[in-house]
């Protein structure tokens, strides 16, 4: 779908900060509030803006640190359906946070979040590897998140400028 320049700007602004007041977005793109909100609604309806969510650093919340694993999955594609069928059977699990079809040595990349390594291991052995089309799985646990969705977790962008300069 081709977006207008203003629509594209709205998408970029909201992707950076979804909580910015609509009035401010309107000013930034030089449109009236009504026009801006109509565009936002259209973008939402068309599922271009899919959802507004927050990036949370769960590792800072004691008792909720959790573990994340990326699992390389090799599967046998189904005649007529390709990878879509097996993908759907995997992404319907709420433990699956992300799922991508990949080029290269394996087919699906599955991102799983669980409370513990044990929980993830259980999911892989009981749910994932028992699916008919799954040939093999390789599980990688994430040890530390440095940057996620373009956001660096450690704060290093403090303003180092002098307060007043010519």
């Amino acid at each position: 779908m081709k977006l207008s320049e203003k629509e594209l700007e709205i998408v970029e602004i909201l992707e950076r900060d979804a909580r910015i007041p609509n009035e401010d977005v309107a000013k930034m793109v030089n449109l009236s509030l009504e026009e801006t909100e109509a565009m936002m609604k259209k973008l939402e309806d068309q599922k271009i803006i899919v959802k507004y969510s927050s990036i949370v650093d769960w590792s800072k919340i004691s008792g909720h640190e959790g573990v994340t694993a990326m699992i390389d999955v090799k599967v046998t594609p189904k005649r007529g359906k390709g990878f879509d069928d097996v993908a759907e059977r995997i992404y319907r699990y709420k433990e699956v946070k992300a799922l991508y079809l990949m080029s290269g040595a394996y087919d699906l990349s599955v991102v799983i979040e669980g409370k513990s390594m044990n929980e993830v291991a259980q999911f892989v052995s009981e749910k994932l590897s028992t699916l008919d089309s799954v040939i093999s799985t390789t599980t990688h646990f994430i040890l530390k998140k440095y940057k996620h969705d373009g956001t660096i977790f450690e704060k290093l962008d403090d303003d180092k400028r002098i307060v007043v300069s010519p």
Binding site: D17, I20, K27, M28, D157, R161, V163, S165, P166
Partner: protein, 388 residues
């Protein structure tokens, strides 16, 4: 021994310190200040540029370069100026890499001025223009760009200030502090004056990369102007590289060679690692410049509209990252306004009069701050105005 002060050069002793200094001291002592008083980008230099400088250090490029700067860098500057600004300059004989645009201004003035020569300085302008003219032995003659014309100088106002001692005109577009940008017609009118009276124009184009509504036109791209233009630019603003102190100056060969004499005796060359950083900026940094520009434009739109909404009349600045609203309706002088705003609401801005007489009644606000900071600043400024 005589009093120490008596050893000072009379010229330097009589030079007024910049009015910005006082605000810096005032603001620096207060906690929790939102500063809109900063004359530099809020972006940190692109990582690829910083990496290039680190690499140059690792590889041991720590010695002098040619006086005029690394040949590779001058070639990149030459290509950059031709491609983006239709201003072709010879890398070999018409470009010098300098320590910021500030040093470029200094050597340009020193290269052309004899004692008593007059330079027309269009105000409001960067605080160093007048003092640099004085230090170069010249005499600054100010011409005011007025609010009524969105702070764009009128060519006939320049003409009125010309005498038989006038040698050059200094202009800066997009402008610090007003953000105003001259379009092709306005530049042509000034160019015609320069041609008519046979004058040089010092064109400070340091903000050339940051124009938001119209395509930027370089003075050197105006017909017949390249031979009488000293074009000053650099990496500080567009490429977010203020602290690297790297600028450049382009001019006709005879003037360039004269500036090079001063540069080689007084400076040797610009810092080597910064030159390697600039090389990377020109080779691979244009995309980042576009991103930053987009971000400034959005913040400008937000901030200027917000200023007008809270009752501070502000023209739409076509470039740079400054808004220059009028505060006349508050009845305060710009200095009073800025000082009270700082003390009462902890927002630092710069009083407009430090940039020249016609800046009085205005304040310079830099919108090179995060959206969150700008939103909070607008809130505080509204509160301040409402209670006046």
């Amino acid at each position: 021994m005589k009093q120490t002060k008596s050893y000072l050069s009379k010229t330097v002793d009589e030079l007024r310190p910049s009015g910005i200094r006082r605000f810096f001291d005032l603001a620096a002592g207060i906690e929790g200040v939102i500063s809109l008083g900063v004359g530099e980008p809020d972006f940190v230099t692109s990582w690829s540029v910083r990496e290039a400088a680190i690499l140059s250090l690792e590889q041991g490029y720590t010695s002098y370069t040619a006086n005029a700067g690394l040949m590779d860098l001058r070639e990149e500057i030459s290509a950059y100026m031709e491609k983006n600004f239709q201003a072709p300059y010879s890398a070999k004989s018409e470009i010098i890499v300098t320590v910021g645009a500030s040093q470029a201004l200094d050597i340009a003035l020193r290269a052309i001025l004899d004692p008593g020569d007059e330079v027309i300085v269009v105000e409001p302008c960067f605080v160093s223009y007048g003092p640099l003219v004085t230090l170069a032995g010249g005499k600054g003659v100010t011409v005011q760009a007025e609010k009524e014309n969105d702070f764009k100088v009128r060519a006939n106002d320049i003409e009125k200030a010309i005498t038989n001692r006038t040698k050059a005109i200094m202009i800066c577009s997009p402008n610090n502090p007003t953000g105003s940008m001259l379009n092709r017609e306005e530049l042509e009118e000034i160019a015609n004056i320069a041609k008519k009276y046979d004058l040089i124009i010092l064109s400070d184009e340091i903000y050339a990369e940051l124009s938001y509504d119209e395509k930027y036109v370089s003075l050197a791209a105006i017909e017949g102007m390249k031979e009488r233009t000293i074009l000053i630019s650099g990496f500080s603003k567009g490429f977010a590289m203020t602290g690297w102190r790297l600028g450049f100056v382009c001019a006709p060969e005879e003037i360039t060679q004269a500036m090079l004499k001063i540069h080689q005796y007084a400076m040797m060359c610009a810092p080597t690692m910064a030159q390697y950083a600039a090389l990377e900026a020109l080779k691979n940094g244009r995309e980042d410049v576009e991103e930053m520009k987009k971000s400034y434009r959005r913040r400008r739109n937000y901030f200027v509209q917000s200023l007008n909404e809270i009752g501070l009349d502000c023209h739409i600045p076509g470039g740079a990252f400054y808004a220059f609203p009028s505060i006349k309706r508050t009845g305060l002088s710009s200095e009073q306004f800025a000082e009270r705003l700082l003390l009462e609401e902890k927002v630092a801005v710069v009083p407009g009069d430090v940039f020249g007489a016609s800046g009085e009644g205005h304040i310079r606000c830099s919108y090179a701050s995060s959206m969150e900071q700008l939103q909070e600043a607008v809130k505080r400024m509204k509160r301040f105005i409402d209670k006046l």
